[in-house]
């Protein structure tokens, strides 16, 4: 059995999930692989204080639903994010915040020492939040999954259950609408991202 577990670490997510149907212990691997990503997703949506509870519920639901897994073979992260969206939605509803956008924005992350950055961030956050609120839910989710959560086009498509080609069009529309709502967006973005930790700008694709 120990040998089986060691071998399981090389399996794709889909294979691990399928095998966990008979050997539930294997699902621990999924938590090891994506615990951090789901915690970060939750922290960005509901804040650090409640992220642990939300992330726990995501994995518990994933565990219960694993026999019906039909996600991507290599990564189940889009599937976990899909579950996470539902959990976050219920969390907002429970907190009587259903009308809010689940997104935590900070004016003091990554550039604590820069007074100017904090001022810019503080001024742009309401504009950005308003712009995001004007997007359709589908466009907003597409943008956030790609820009914040690091999913590729095909992973965003898998998470939202849409064709990959649709991701591109939604992304373009969402970006254009946000840009139209936030004056001088490029300039503000360029000022803020300078202070970000190294590696943050790493490209994907």
């Amino acid at each position: 059995m120990v040998q089986d577990r060691l071998d399981a670490t090389t399996l794709s997510d889909a294979d691990v999930i399928a095998a966990s149907s008979d050997d539930p212990d294997l699902f621990r691997l999924i938590v090891s692989r994506y615990g951090e990503a789901v915690l970060k997703y939750a922290a960005r949506r509901v804040g650090a204080q409640d992220a642990r509870d939300v992330a726990s519920e995501v994995f518990l639901r994933g565990f219960r639903l694993r026999n019906r897994y039909e996600g991507l073979r290599e990564t189940c992260l889009p599937w976990l994010y899909r579950i996470a969206r539902n959990v976050v939605g219920e969390w907002l509803k429970k907190a009587n915040r259903s009308d809010e956008i689940a997104l935590v924005l900070h004016s003091s992350v990554g550039f604590e020492d820069e007074v100017l950055d904090r001022v810019i961030a503080a001024s742009v956050i309401p504009e950005l939040r308003r712009a995001l609120a004007l997007l359709s839910e589908q466009d907003r989710e597409t943008l956030l999954l790609f820009a914040l959560d690091g999913l590729t086009y095909s992973e965003v498509a898998a998470s939202l259950g849409i064709p990959p080609g649709t991701v591109g069009s939604r992304l373009t529309r969402a970006r254009n609408e946000v840009r139209a709502q936030v004056p001088d967006l490029e300039h503000k973005a360029s000022l803020l991202v300078i202070s970000l930790p190294e590696g943050k700008e790493e490209d994907r694709g």
Partner: protein
Amino acid sequence: MAEDRHPVDELLRALAGDPQVDPADLAHIQGRIDAAIKTEKKVRQRRRPRTRVLMWAAAVAAVIVGTSVILQTARVSPAAATLEEIARAAEATDPLTITDAEFLYTRSETQARSVVPKAGLGDVPYERDSLVYLLSSTRETWFGSDGTVQIRTTVHDASFLTDEDEAAYYAAGLDQQDNLATTETLTVSDPGREEWPTDPGQLDQTIRTRMAEDRGLPETVEYLAVALNIIREVYITPELRAATLRLIANLDGLNHEPTDSEIDPAAFHIDYTDQGILSRFTFRIDGQGYLRFEERLNLEADTRFGVPAHTPTFRAEYTRPTIAGSLQTP
């Protein structure tokens, strides 16, 4: 496909930041999953002895009839398999959500048996020790997004086993006590919805703590009564509905009644003895896991009250919850 960078993305990333992950949070999640794994293993172990007996019996039967077909079908009872199928469908169902201007609306048509001792009839002459009748009512419920609940109950009429019973009922003024042909509306502000766990082990334990212990009914019946209460005319998540159905599926003595449609709604029953009278508890669950019907009746004549066999003690039909735009009957 070019997955390009964009100033909007950069602005979002800058303001959302890169949340730090506390190793203790990861350990907490792993702990929750470990607990769920442990519970699942326990449930499997509990099932195993029964499965082994069934498989042993099936193996013997297979030798006798020279076929292994029974081996494949003996592993899970039809009732458990059907409820598992429904539980999966329930889980896949989008939760019903309501806006501030909407209500979740449910409606039930009920017949409940009433038993009034002779002393309760006052001076009205009556031969039997107790008067038995069925009271019909309709209950409508509106759940608001703020937690308030409006319940409107209309008592329709009473039905009787004999003309003598009916005459005694009206002569004793029981129709006034029962509020026949009247409607009452009650609004409860923020009643504090009951929080049920969705973890199977915890839910099982919570159900057991709510079971009545003084009615002399078998444990399976008391368990079923509490479990159905969770999914009856209430506003719950698909996950809780599914978890409850899975626990019901584990009940000993649960039978599946084939219907025209295998799933929508599927009928189940448990037979039991209530004060020496063979009785049946039937319920039907639709394809999305909603309780649509339940009935408790005596399969044998109940000589204590002169009640013939197959007379219901309780019978109710439920609509599937819908979203209503006002506090009026849709």
